[in-house]
Symmetry: C2
Subunit: 424 residues, 2 copies
């Protein structure tokens, strides 16, 4: 196995092969040696290289609620062949810095834990590395948002929710917050003016207060902050206007999920089970990280097996139908694919995502392949290219949170794969 | 639905129907009202009535590791009929205080969350109450020990472990503890002289220190005690001799599990999956509560669906075979059924369990029906009556931990059922 390094922001990191968590002995032994232990209370489980183990073992670190797969049995999508996998492994492409990679070598470069490619609904590639196994759920991070907002858009389609209504209509206790006059549509497209920052590289960013409130980061013994997600959301104040610009803020998803729960009485875990997992033949239970009062982190707490993530991508590629049954309304999927206003998106300054928009918590490329994506920190990706009839589900444990750290390789790799498979 | 009360130690409690957690609204609402919240940090999740919700939601309170069911699909054991269920519901029996009950009414009296009866391998009765559902794992508490020790006895049978060797042979760091010269056989039959108490009604009992070390009870901000199970076990000192009397101490199981992990390198969760769950067609993943370094609580941390618990009972009834395949060695099961020395058991003073012994962490009745049992606090029971060809799996959330609180009803109820079904 070749090992190497990557460099980001001037810092050199051992690559995916060189930081394999099994080879490093992370959490091995009885007990694991002190230097190999990953404990929630040390608050370093998302640091590198610990993250290479942690993202496949989230339930061993925090409380979780099951997303039941139902009792219908797993759906099939064929088995890969050596020929098809070898052909993909040998694919070469240039990254956005002009460096040439093979597909196979790029997997270690992006700290890939697992990746599946479906072409016309058939599995043509599947790989697992490090701590991940086919049956083991992995952190989806913000791909959770795409699941949650697809459900919210479905509830709007069913007239259970009204996208024009303000948050305070559903949650009167939020009237004193930034969300008082933000509509569900503002939430869904992340166009809310709220004083909240999400720079993962900044230890003082609001995202960490939010995670600490929800029990995803350790608390000091003298912690006196919000005790759960809802308490944290009640502290958020307005900054700027709603509806003018795309501003990516995880708390918007949390408010959306709170509304879904308030109106339906159904938890996110149950809704994902009833409306997605059990309808598309998921083969493993998923799970959601929950806070101290049992509320799931709708903005990033989902863990799914790679195959089940891939099934969701295939459902979305097929306009919400699964083996002839409409599971998500076709209009909901079409609305996502149409995207929102790229001009509002451009204000956020994602230089690698030129021409994109953000709709119902999906990233919409507006490119020739019709690509739309679920994206999560540290390299999580659900990539759907309808015009190439391709779905790629990928889990990573990249040292750097922001997608900008892997997009220079990921974007051209996935596009090159689409062209390879389209060419037959 | 009839509601009533039970009295134990002079205190009156609302019965199972009157304390239904759904009717009480426990953990309902978004957020649940303060009085209806069950938070781990409040350290009251095992109090009554909170326990009526908690035992079906353990993973939402503490970190857990999955016991994977494998990918073989669920095994069948038939469906119940209304006739068979009505006949059982109408069964009457006298409890040990001479009070008459119907089977159906006794379910609320024992705070039953779920119960399944198999007769000759076919399901003849199945009921769920309160927070439990067929797919939802429930706390097994000390039935965990019967699983773990059946695996340990299997490893002894395979000569991977030696029951005559002392603990310190496998765990040199335990040489300074009570376990230095205790053998695996002493552990398996709970005949270890160790200064450790397990009176659940005493808030100062060692069991709570042990639970706190393992992360199953909340810690005060100034907590400076052991940080995990192994650290706690290293503190245990000798009291009395080994091998002379049965003394029920959960820490013995924990030491046994530590040895299994040290010798095999396989975690308890993986071993349960490989050697039991995946071999008998379990339909749901189970899970184990884990401590801060990922070590499962082998003495009581298992959660299983009721049906999967029942499958394990049926496996043991059938001498370790499952649909023609030997899963657990027949000699291991025969050894359990032969029991150990009832004279040593009698010294422990279990007045309701006259004539019993304890072997490989199973409770062996030595009665006419050949009954042997897995038993867990708050009413958990796996009851196997080979000569009646009956298995009963039952989950409860009884207000009182000790089995002595429900045995006066449970023992005659189960025996009456055996006689009813045997009579055809």
């Amino acid at each position: 196995m070749n090992t190497g390094t990557i460099v980001f922001d001037g810092i050199e990191y051992p690559d995916g092969n060189a930081s394999d968590p099994n080879a490093l002995g992370l959490m091995q032994g009885s007990p694991p040696p002190l230097a190999k232990r990953i404990r929630f209370e040390d608050d370093r489980y998302l640091d590198f290289p610990q993250i290479r183990w942690s993202l496949s073992h989230m339930r061993e670190l925090v409380p979780t609620a099951a997303v039941w797969r139902g009792n219908g049995g797993a759906s099939e999508f064929g088995v890969t062949t050596r020929d098809s996998e070898a052909r993909i492994d040998a694919l070469t492409f240039d990254d956005l810095q002009g460096q040439r990679h093979t597909w196979a070598a790029a997997l270690a470069h992006t700290y890939t834990d697992g990746i599946i490619v479906l072409h016309r609904g058939a599995r043509v590639y599947e790989r697992y590395f490090g701590a991940l196994q086919p049956q083991r759920p992995h952190a989806c991070f913000s791909i959770t948002k795409s699941y949650a907002a697809t459900l919210a858009a479905t509830l709007i389609h069913e007239r259970i929710l009204d996208e024009g209504k303000a948050v305070a209509h559903y949650l009167p206790e939020m009237a004193a917050t930034a969300y008082q006059d933000a509509t569900l549509r503002h939430l869904l497209d992340m166009q809310v003016g709220v004083d909240y920052g999400e720079d993962y590289a900044d230890p003082q960013a609001h995202i960490w207060d939010y995670a600490r409130a929800g029990g995803l980061r350790a608390r000091r013994p003298d912690y006196a902050g919000p005790g759960n997600y809802y308490e944290y959301l009640l502290t958020l104040r307005k900054a700027g206007d709603h509806g003018t610009a795309f501003e990516y803020k995880t708390v918007n998803t949390e408010v959306l999920c709170w509304i879904m729960k308030r109106v339906t009485g159904i938890s996110l875990a149950e809704m994902l089970s009833e409306r997605i997992w059990s309808r598309i033949g998921c083969e493993e239970d998923g799970y959601l990280a929950v806070d101290s009062i049992g509320v799931a982190m709708g903005g990033g707490g989902l863990n799914s097996s790679l195959r089940d993530l891939c099934r969701f991508g295939e459902l979305m590629r097929c306009e919400g139908t699964w083996r002839g049954k409409q599971v998500i309304p076709a209009e909901v999927v079409a609305d996502i694919r149409r995207g929102s206003d790229p001009m509002k998106f451009a204000k956020a300054g994602y230089t690698l995502l030129s021409g994109y928009s953000y709709r119902n918590m999906w990233w919409v490329s507006h490119n020739q392949l019709g690509v739309f994506e679920g994206r999560g920190i540290h390299g999580q990706r659900l990539y759907i290219a309808p015009r190439a009839e391709i779905v790629i589900a990928r889990f990573c444990s990249h040292p750097i949170a922001t997608s900008a750290a892997n997009d220079p390789v990921t974007l051209p790799a996935f596009e090159a794969l689409c062209h390879l498979l389209r060419s037959g």
